[in-house]
Amino acid sequence: MAGAALTGVDDLRTKLGKLEVALSAIVDALVWLDGDGRVQWYNAPFRRLVDRLDAAVLGARLVDLLPLEDGGKPLPPHAHPIHLALNGRPNAIGSYEYRGGGQPVVLEVFAARVQFSRQELSTVVAIRDITERRRAEEKEQRLAAEAADSAVAARKRAAELDTAYKELKNTQAMLVHAEKMAAIGQLASGVAHEVKNPLGIILQGVDYLEGRVGPEDAEGFEVLRMIKEAVMRSDRIVRDLLNFSRQRPLEPKPCDIAQVIRDSLGLVEKQLALQNIAVRQAFADGLPPVVIDENQMKQVFINVILNALQAMPKGGELTLRTAAAAPESLPVELARRALMTWRPGEAAVRCDVADTGVGIPADQVQKAFEPFFTTKPAGQGTGLGLAISRSIVEKHRGGISLASHEGRGTTVTIVLPIVHEVPG
């Protein structure tokens, strides 16, 4: 019996020894604590970790052997995973920094409460060095964050490029338009000069013949009147061409825009009455003066008003409105132009000329500002009025746009920046 028992004890010792060797062969540090948190057993990796003599380890409190830090601050004893495990949390796990072994490391500490008997409470603690893993994780996070940042940056760049591209396209369109206008202008001016003199000869010739025909030849007189009228009509076209081609420099001065519109309206009063057109004027109070070339802007308003009148052969209502306008409140093409040519914070005066006339078909609205485009019957328009108007308004760094509903009417919107210095 005693021998068997002895064999049994030897057996156990051998097993215990093997177990100790086996448990020391694993990478994780293992330690077994008593109910007070004092070391009862540990494996070789634990000793290497705390770097103490065996005598200093056995029986020592783990909290003293392994002072942990959390976020660079010493971990208070009550927050130590051992303390947590002993005080009701069966499995406490956490990662902490540890500086006891020279180089700071990050440890994952797992503490498990073990109840051997009613009286004997214990804790087993497994400690793993996760410094490398943490570094790798952090690197991964950093890379992910960088990737996210660069994705955001790339999207931002793409958006910026897109905006720049659109602006460039607009600028290019404006340049092409300006060049086209200049070329047409030059051509028009040349043609106009050449045509004016022959027209003069015809007119003088008609005057001469009128003297020869005499009042008794009614038919002859009528023919001459027709020739004279045709000359005048040609002259009007030539005059429009010259007007269009001659880029007169601005002579700007501060003006009350409402007064400029009223004056323009005054010049077409007779026609308004003849066509049975009601005029509604809605001019905003207290608008600051705009710095404009009064005569050139009058030409613009007269053009636009005459177009409105021609769109209402059977009468209607003409509305003239002025208001202060922020660039963002403008029709989109004017807002874009304003963004490009106005200085930050520059405000504008907005003028609307609205009619209740025949309107312009949707597919023709875009062409309305093109030179020589006209919806009027032959002989009634050269198609230069709006092209001239646009060129004048744009010289003022303003914009002009048109909205139309066929059968319901057209509204022309003109915006002018309120400038404090004289534009060059």
């Binding site: 003199n197 027209l199 003069g200 003088q204 001469y208 000359v231």
Partner: protein
């Protein structure tokens, strides 16, 4: 009543001829024509005219130079400028406009031409 002598300077020959016909038909004017600025100045130096009409846009010598030379040579003779530019005559500088005794736009309407001439002559007489 003696006829008033007018010198008409314009590089457009037919225009000059038909204007001459129209002006002379009134029975009031006697018209000489010159087809360029230098030719006009030569005529004006050699003869006396009551009034001179000159085109503004001429090759070689423009109406402004002709006007100033005429004013230097014959300060008494009123000068009327014609131009293809309408109404405001912006191509003609303000200074030149002030020096001219009349402005008329092309194509020239006969009735208007007569009015401009009469006015220029009347002003000249007063001055």
């Amino acid at each position: 009543m003696t006829k008033k002598r007018i010198l008409l300077i314009d590089d457009e020959r037919d225009l000059c001829l038909v204007m001459k016909l129209n002006l002379e038909r009134t029975g009031t004017y006697d018209v000489a024509v010159a087809y360029s600025g230098p030719e006009g100045l030569e005529r004006a130096e050699a003869e006396l005219f009551d009034l001179i009409i000159t085109d503004f846009n001429m090759p070689g010598m423009d109406g402004g130079v002709v006007l100033r030379s005429l004013k230097a040579m014959r300060p008494q003779a009123p000068v009327v400028l014609c131009s293809v530019y309408h109404d405001d005559v912006t191509a003609i500088t303000a200074a030149v406009q002030r020096e001219a005794d009349g402005l008329i736009n092309k194509p020239i309407d006969h009735a208007q031409l007569l009015r401009t001439i009469e006015q220029a002559l009347a002003n000249g007489t007063e001055g």
